[in-house]
């Protein structure tokens, strides 16, 4: 494994999980790639990371869209080198697969897709933690990765997911294995998201659940920032102090913020926090299944882990479903 990483680091930009104080984060570990670097130790057995890998590698917090000082080539993103996203858990790969759809239809997002085309994804098997609820959204990864690693005692098993992956396993760091892969069929979770769940959320626009949430929610938007499938953005221009440099950037936004819904005349179209909270659930669990055949959630648990008001999004879903089973009184 270290040899494979060495090779990748010489050739590509590598973004991998490392430990930072009490949390794990995906970070670019070789900014001076091509030259040997002092790499922080990569944490291959991390439980989960603070931010999802796609929000580091494919949709950074602040991204240059247009450089107005360059008349012909205003967008410079197509000159980016290839990057390797190393050590990605399966639910995060699934999130990237859904985002690929979101960013391709009905219109193409130039910046996301340009980065995506230049990204090699190497996945790694993970252990479930109490925060994960990815079994709510069952999926079988049918691609989205180039290689996928499963740790055994003393070695890794590798699954090839693409043509690039096929080329990579020809490198001398890999050898044939006598393992024959089969899968176990009978994995049945107790709760699974279904079109019925979506319907419950759609029918509960006026539910007290949102009012109760609005009383404890700080409306800070952290749940959106840490979500691998929250992709909304705001654009803003900046002028350099010399009054020459003029650039347009886009930044992550969050629909929990009143500003998100405020137009130029200061009119906010969703002034109530409960409506903004509902919008988040409505987008993820009603609109996204309709638009992209999958809810905007993979159960990574980051929103639960990072919410300063300790709101448990999983329990909110469960409460709604429980309430809907009660006979109408």
């Amino acid at each position: 494994m270290p040899k494979l990483l060495d090779w990748l680091e010489k050739k590509y930009l590598v973004i991998a999980p490392i430990k930072k104080e009490a949390q794990f984060v995906f970070e670019l570990i070789n900014p001076h790639y091509g030259r040997p670097s002092q790499i922080p130790k990569i944490a291959l057995d991390y439980p989960t990371t603070m931010l999802p890998p796609n929000k580091i590698a494919l949709m950074p917090p602040k991204e240059l869209m247009l450089d107005f000082t360059k008349p012909k080539n205003r967008a410079t993103i197509d000159q980016l080198p290839t990057q390797v996203l190393f050590g990605v858990h399966d639910y995060d790969i699934q999130a990237i697969n859904i985002l690929d759809k979101v960013m391709s239809k009905p219109t193409e997002d130039f910046y996301y897709l340009s980065r995506r085309q230049r990204t090699i994804i190497i996945g790694i098997e993970n252990q479930r933690t109490p925060l994960h609820f990815d079994h709510y959204f069952p999926f079988e990864l049918k691609g989205g990765f180039d290689l996928f690693l499963s740790q055994m005692k003393g070695f890794f098993i590798v699954t090839v997911g693409s043509k690039i992956g096929e080329k990579l396993v020809e490198l001398p760091f890999f050898e044939d294995s006598s393992w024959k892969i089969k899968r176990v069929k009978d994995f049945e979770p107790d709760f699974v998201f279904s079109p019925k769940t979506a319907k419950i959320i759609e029918e509960n626009k006026d539910s007290q659940v949102w009012d109760k949430l609005a009383k404890i929610c700080l409306g800070c938007g952290v749940c959106s920032y840490v979500c691998p499938l929250c992709y909304c953005f705001e654009t803003s221009d900046e002028i350099g102090l010399d009054n020459r440099q003029k650039c347009r950037y886009r930044r992550w936004d969050a629909c929990f913020l009143a500003d998100f819904w405020t137009i130029a005349n200061k009119n906010c179209t969703k002034p109530k926090l409960r409506d903004r909270i509902y919008n988040w659930y409505h987008h993820k669990f009603v609109r996204m299944p309709e638009e992209y055949d999958h809810p905007g959630c993979v159960g990574c648990g980051r929103c639960l882990a990072q919410c300063p008001a300790k709101i448990n999004f999983r329990e909110v879903l469960e409460e709604l479903i429980k309430n809907s089973r009660k006979p109408a009184s």
Partner: protein, 269 residues
């Protein structure tokens, strides 16, 4: 590697005139070769270094390579825009959105309701209607503004009045005003509007509150919410269905709108 077009890149349009329409409101005329639009669509106008904002053209859609925007100074972009000189450039993306369903409106009685700046896309629609006057039955324009000086496109009224009925009102009247005062809803009355309710379409553009009040007033004329089209003002940012700011229930104002059937979205306000 597949080539991806960058939809966030605009085309340079040349400003060929600025005319003051009212205090803080200007009419900007731009030249942009190859540009054409349907009334009710919008463009994203950007001023490098200041930002980008959505506007609906207010000019005659038959004039190719050229369009006009009626813009009120409210934010950063619109303030910077006022400082531009003739022959300066702006960036234009679009046109985006559906625009008014012109074919569906033909052979019908039309009531156009405008509140404040909402007159802009309707002015463009009126130019289209005048050119194709024979395809439509009765046409009414009900237009309300805050003050008399804020009644826009005044130099067009004489031309418009020859072919359509215009009813105006202002909220705050002044010494020179002999017309009606109050909200535009007050113009929505059986005494003023002679239409066949079964074969009428209403097009509204203005603040959301106006839509709700007018829909109630129109119901008294036996006009149903399904016959009402509204143009929604929303925070369009990307224009291409990505940024999520302009969502309205399950709809995107930028892709599915900005023109909606009132009955489709009345619950999502």
């Amino acid at each position: 590697m597949k080539k991806i077009t960058n939809q966030y890149l605009g085309n340079r349009a040349k400003l060929i005139s600025i005319k003051k329409q009212a205090e803080g409101i200007n009419l900007y005329t731009f030249n942009l070769p190859g540009f054409s639009f349907i009334p009710g669509q919008f463009v994203m106008l950007s001023l490098p270094g200041f930002g980008e904002a959505p506007f609906a053209p207010c000019s005659d859609p038959a004039k190719s390579n050229q369009f006009q925007l009626s813009i009120r100074r409210v934010g950063i972009v619109t303030t910077a825009l006022e400082k531009l000189q003739k022959y300066d450039f702006v960036d234009i993306r679009g046109p985006f959105g559906n625009g008014f369903p012109l074919k569906k409106l033909s052979k019908k009685d039309l009531i156009l309701v405008a509140g404040g700046m909402g007159i802009a896309p309707l002015a463009s629609l009126i130019e289209f209607l005048l050119r194709n006057r024979r395809s439509f039955n009765q046409i009414y324009l009900l237009y309300g503004a805050k003050t008399t000086s804020q009644l826009l496109f005044r130099n067009h009224y004489t031309k418009w009045q020859k072919k359509i009925n215009i009813e105006l009102c202002v909220e705050e009247k002044d010494a020179n005003w002999e017309g009606k005062t109050g909200f535009v809803t007050g113009l929505c009355h059986r005494d003023q509007i002679k239409v066949n309710p079964q074969n009428t379409a209403v097009v509204m553009c203005g603040p959301v509150l106006m839509y709700q009040n007018n829909a109630e007033a129109l119901a008294k004329l036996d006009i149903k919410p399904e016959q009402i089209l509204v143009s929604m003002e929303a925070k369009m940012k990307c224009g291409v269905g990505k940024c999520q700011h302009c969502t309205l229930g399950k709809k995107y104002t930028c892709l599915d709108g900005p023109v909606f059937q009132y009955s489709e979205i009345a619950n999502d306000f």
